[in-house]
Symmetry: C2
Subunit: 112 residues, 2 copies
């Protein structure tokens, strides 16, 4: 769950979404997108949570705006986003933000 | 769930956490903190999701770094954070980020 990101600055893409009912291929594609994202240059990590009401937040972390733009243009990711708009989400928002500082509390002295 | 934030730039505080077992006063305090946050100068909105595994993400949005600092120094919020560290969370991370752009898909033409 916790992304082991480097010292700031880096970028965060905050994706807030409301899922529609039913799976309709969502789970497989979501898993595939994470597997693909991990392979992209500049990918730093991802954190995700979704409640039983279908409201979810996924935050992915990236080294640069260029890395975000390249991932956005990835063909398979573009197709998945289109399916998301058409089938999987009734509403979503995307915010791109520059992380300026970070801290936390970890078990066993690991850093956030 | 969806925060009706203004045009960027503004700030996001990304709080990722793992809850311990049991409530132990958590739900009441969480509700109270949202009610208090809404009253703070510069508060723009909050979005939150937590899965059945206890992993959660809360993103609050603020007009400025000063607004974030003032909320952080609020006495009741400081006491709640201390209880969080001691009782409610086994791990958490906080990232403060400047939102540079935002877009989304809304039902009924509302904006993200």
């Amino acid at each position: 769950m916790f992304a082991n990101t480097p010292e700031p600055p880096y970028y965060a893409v905050i994706f807030t979404s409301q899922r529609t009912a039913g799976d309709d291929g969502y789970a497989d594609t979501a898993e595939r997108m994470v597997a693909l994202a991990v392979q992209q240059p500049g990918f730093l990590g991802v954190e995700s949570a979704r409640g039983t009401d279908g409201a979810g937040i996924t935050v992915s972390y990236w080294a640069s705006e260029d890395a975000i733009a390249a991932w956005r243009q990835h063909t398979e990711h573009s197709l998945a986003r289109e399916q998301g708009r058409q089938h999987w989400y009734s509403q979503f928002s995307v915010r791109v933000a520059k992380v300026e500082r970070a801290y936390g509390m970890c078990p066993q002295g690991a850093r956030p």
